[in-house]
Symmetry: C2
Subunit: 366 residues, 2 copies
């Protein structure tokens, strides 16, 4: 039996003005259809339509289909603002970052958007300055005012332990993206930088290098620690050790890579290989080698980390560790907007691990 009213086109109280029959769509040329229109056209209450929107199981299959049909016909889509107001929560995901590398930012954004595609969520970007005295207040205001559905924290914001308590207090979901687990797993996506560091170390050890220099990022950067830890582990497994003398501290910038490499390469006994903790610094290493007439890879092997576009544009083309930033981003946003499917993905798909890309800056030592 057909539920009464399901097929009525107009409500009993809406007078039929006798105009020639026209497509349902025509009514909405200068006005977007609302939930009330859907309810009126299907003859149910707006509450029932709301149930369909929210995929409540408490709607008879037949009713649901009819409502969906009408929605489709008149081109209805719920208003995220109205929904958000009632939910006390928007359908916006915030990406909070303080990262100077454009390539990272864009790859991450792309990945986040991949995971949010056709879910109705949108991405709001929010760069910030972690060193600013108003940093925490900025974050709080952003999240609270926009009533964000969730937040993605990327390095180095993700490493700031002052942020999670604020988000918990507000009641905003968040995912931290970091090189090592800092939290309960449901809040983390880990990039396992120690594995990448180990791959680089193994590669250099296999080539026969024993005097290996390491250029780190700032003390406060977890990723740099992890990459070093991996390097040390791989060298250890090859019966080697990382000489503290050959570890110098950079700052993830091209210039710092240049300076650190000049330092290392002008030592009485210089290293035969340098592992720079990111590609920017590795580019600086190449520049420094050139300035000292040291040929790469014959006289010096160089390994970077990140595998940004830059690595392939350099000369020689840079051997580096690829980080699947986009894939990591996709997982992070999926975890936020679709937790159950995220769990599946994580188990089966190993693509989110770093991997070595061997190009032209590494060779056996002379």
């Amino acid at each position: 039996m057909v539920p009464r009213g399901i097929f009525r086109m107009t409500d009993g109280e809406t007078p039929d003005n006798g105009k020639p029959a026209k497509s349902l769509r025509d009514e909405f040329v200068d006005r977007r259809p609302t939930i009330n229109d859907v309810a009126r056209l299907t003859g149910v209450s707006k509450k029932t339509v709301s149930r369909v929107i929210n995929k409540s199981p408490a709607v008879k299959e037949h009713t649901r289909e009819e409502i969906l049909r009408v929605m489709h016909e008149i081109g209805y889509a719920p208003d995220p603002q109205a929904r958000g107001l009632a939910f006390r929560r928007s359908f916006l995901i915030g990406m909070i970052y303080d990262n100077p590398n454009p390539q990272y930012v864009v790859n991450m954004q792309q990945g986040l958007l991949d995971g949010m595609r056709s879910t109705g969520f949108e991405l709001v970007v929010h760069p910030c300055d972690r060193a600013s005295p108003t940093f925490l207040e900025d974050v709080r205001n952003f999240v609270e005012r926009q009533k964000l559905y969730g937040v993605i924290l990327t390095p180095s914001v993700s490493e700031d332990e002052r942020v999670p308590p604020i988000l918990r207090q507000i009641g905003c979901e968040f995912i931290r993206i970091a090189s090592v687990s800092l939290d309960e797993p449901e809040h983390m996506i880990v990039s396992h930088d120690h594995l990448g560091g180990a791959a680089a170390g193994r590669h250099l050890a296999e080539l026969g290098h024993t005097r290996i220099g390491f250029i780190s990022g700032r003390e406060s950067f977890r990723s740099s620690h992890e990459r070093r830890r991996g390097l040390e582990r791989a060298l250890g497994e090859a019966g080697l050790a990382l000489d503290d003398e050959l570890v110098v501290q950079g700052a993830y910038t091209f210039e710092s890579g240049y300076d650190c490499a000049r330092d290392l390469l002008q030592r009485p006994v210089r290293p035969t290989a340098i592992f720079a903790a990111n590609d920017e610094m590795a580019a600086g290493v190449l520049q420094a080698a050139r300035s000292l007439d040291i040929r790469v890879p014959d006289q010096l092997s160089v390994v970077g980390y990140d595998n940004f576009q830059l690595a392939e544009r350099l000369w020689p083309r840079l051997t580096t560790v690829h980080t699947p930033t986009r894939e990591i981003g996709r997982r992070a946003s999926t975890k936020l907007v679709n937790p159950q499917s995220a769990a599946e993905i994580e188990q089966q798909d190993p693509r989110a691990l770093p991997s070595l890309v061997i190009r032209d800056t590494t060779a056996p030592p002379l």
Copy 2:
């Protein structure tokens, strides 16, 4: 005379429960203050508070100050969703782009955010595929569903003439960012790429080059046209002409730059200088020269366009044309959220013009 009620802390109908005096803020630890709270605490109606929020002149100065004081004290900020719902318009700005270059995207975003800082607007990023059959539908849905306040179109989406009519129909403000004016000025921010092209051409002509190659972007890219037009003008002013034989078409990618340069450099009489329409392709030119044992800049001068970070990482460091992408972005968003101040900026500040950055890839011909 003090308006009645202004200083009352509680409404007459709200019973004083006799608890010890506490900061006004304490009331809002688990609940954000609303316009009703502000109205109650100041003893005015919410309508008056609303007038203050919207900077209506029809509020007595004294009343306004008092309301602002209370707002500040309890940490009130209007809910953008509720406001948006009533306004039928959100406080979100969309950035719609289909641009493969991360550096451009990030610089542009940064600039847009600069112009929106502390205006209460937020930036929603929306990459898209202009070649997709659903492209226009995607754009429409995005803008219409989110009820965007305004949209920024960047190349090459900004060059698509099908988009503006859709936005006009929806009633959404937009700004097109392009290399040349395509529209009424109030919808455009122009990057004047022909000036940059001319600067590059002038530089090469002054160095004494006469056989100059040009690697363009795809036919459909306005920027490439403009850069070429500028080159031709500068050469013309120097009594030279661009030889059509030496113009080859690339695609703004590293690989296309490499291929085109190999083509040009293996001609019987090769050019002594190459102007590539962007830095990516210029990087490809350097690679190609190296592969053919042609020394830069001694045997070949190279000029790029964009001045992205890459330009300084290359070896030799690339001479290129700087585009003030971030500044352009700042102007674009300012124009959207604060049109009157935008007009002033545009007149006085010339920083938004391209300028030549001379590095190490250009020298007089042998």
